[in-house]
Amino acid sequence: MMKLFGITFKNRVFIASGVFGFGLKYKKVSNRVGAIFTKGITLEPRKGNAPPRVFETASGLINWVGLENPGVEKFCKDILPKMKKLRTRIFVNVAGSEVIDYERIVERIGGQVDGFELNISCPNVKKGGVAFGQDPKIAASVVARARTKTKLPLIVKLTPNFCDPLRIAKVCIGAGADGISLINTLYGMVYDIERKKPLITGGLSGPAIKPFALYCVNRLRGLGVPIIGMGGIMTGQDAYEFLLAGASAVAIGSAILRDPYAPLQIIKELKKYPPPPSSPSERGRIKEGEKKEYK
């Protein structure tokens, strides 16, 4: 057990957005991780990008899924009631093509979940996504406006693509973010040498990006809010490295594509390591029982 944002979590191993749907298929796994971050939810349903959507690269893969999801209404109606039965913390990954989308989604879902992850870092959409996360003014605006709609933990998922996540993190925290998660996938591309055109352009993930992800997490340590570190975590040792670098918890992504049960193995392996040095941020910005007004 551990505490972040004033709420308790079973453990420090979470499931990253986008690789586990809504946690309803492998419930044994869902019920044993600290938290699940849902597939990105947008205001309207999105059918996603045209295939090919995944392509293997050296020690990882590029994805070009494009936030395929049923939209917030269908999510609230059909999926959330089932998710609520899971014995884990649920964070909704919120994605928007306009700044206003984020607050509207947060408002629509309301207090039915344990928190939100504002996705201002998806590289696979034409509007919004990573562009919001590269611009400190827009990032701050997304956070500040979503903040007015919820008292639940608000985590911002950041990109290191062509911007300094430290700078963006600072403005997001200033705008009311309770925590930071990073890194989202990196820009990546594979060329088709026969057609002399890109075969796929999208987000690179997997062990190939782990050293850079660790660097980014380490760069953001000491900001006073919990960091959820992710990027190529395959083993308990990988997870522990992120905790040493300053993360309070880790999220598992691409490892799940090799094995949906990977998080359980990582939880088991992580138990072999001594608890990471405690960080003052783990007390969280929202203390238990404390009521905060965000006006």
């Binding site: 586990f20 749907g21 995944v54 392509f55 293997e56 990882g60 594509l257 949906p260």
Partner: protein, 246 residues
């Protein structure tokens, strides 16, 4: 759950097509279903490879694989007695219908149809088998197909004036069948769709898969106006509902 199994037997059918037999007694795979096979215990290549069930009998499963890239090359270097890690079965299994059927295989697409044929033969369902490949030696399991199919036609692009598997369909009275099942390269499925056969045709589809179990949404196929997951909603779809260009 990743299962660790031992390769019971390895067999080369051609210079680039091989079979691996493993023992998995506690499953009941259906035609169309596949396994995600771990290529490497390191992270490169990273993803598992989807391999369809080509035969299942008494707990022994056969996977027939063609060496196409790095992953299948590494799998081809495994030998009997070595360990293999597999996950599955995944995909919607096909419920074999008691209808007079036509099986249309192109190249390595024969693998899942061999399993369908095995199931049909077990249920005494009558079927004919049309099977094409580039070279004569690429036609695998010919004698087995001749044994269990009512009629079988084998074509290669080397003989009969470069006849393709679809060209061979002209030799048949397609309307005399109730249903057809096809598996082969995408180009073959596209051409088959254009033929607009007067019977329902079900296509066994393939793609690069991410997870293989419906989580990552990486293997999309446009089917009846919406993206479906090949791994979870398929891999068998009614051919006329597929939009290959979206």
């Amino acid at each position: 759950m990743v299962r660790r199994v031992t390769i019971k037997k390895k067999e080369w059918f051609t210079d680039d097509i091989f079979g691996l037999e493993i023992y998995l007694p506690d499953i009941d795979p259906q035609p169309g279903q596949f396994f995600q096979v771990r290529v490497s215990t390191t992270y490169d290549p990273f993803l598992n490879r989807p391999i369809s069930v080509a035969s299942y009998k008494g707990g022994t499963m056969l996977m027939i694989i063609r060496v196409l890239g790095r992953g299948t090359k590494i799998l081809s270097q495994k030998e009997a007695g070595e360990d293999l890690r597999v996950l599955g079965p995944f995909g919607k299994g096909l419920r074999v219908k008691k209808k007079k059927s036509l099986l249309i295989a192109g190249g390595i697409g024969v693998a899942p149809l061999l399993f369908l044929a095995q199931k049909m033969h077990g249920k005494r369902i009558e079927f004919d088998f049309v099977y094409g490949a580039k070279r004569e030696k690429d036609l695998i399991k010919k004698s087995h197909i001749l044994q269990i199919a009512k009629h079988a036609i084998f074509v290669t692009e080397q003989d009969r004036g470069k006849m393709t598997v679809l060209g061979a369909l002209d030799m048949l009275d397609v309307e005399s069948y109730d249903i057809a099942y096809a598996c082969g390269p995408k180009t073959m499925l596209i051409e088959l769709q254009k033929l607009n056969l007067p019977i329902p045709v079900y296509a066994f589809c393939e793609d690069f898969l991410g997870c293989g179990c419906g989580l990552c949404l990486g293997c999309a196929i446009m089917y009846k106006g919406e993206y479906k997951r090949i791994c979870e909603d398929g891999p068998v779809f009614e051919l006329k509902g597929i939009s290959f260009d979206e």
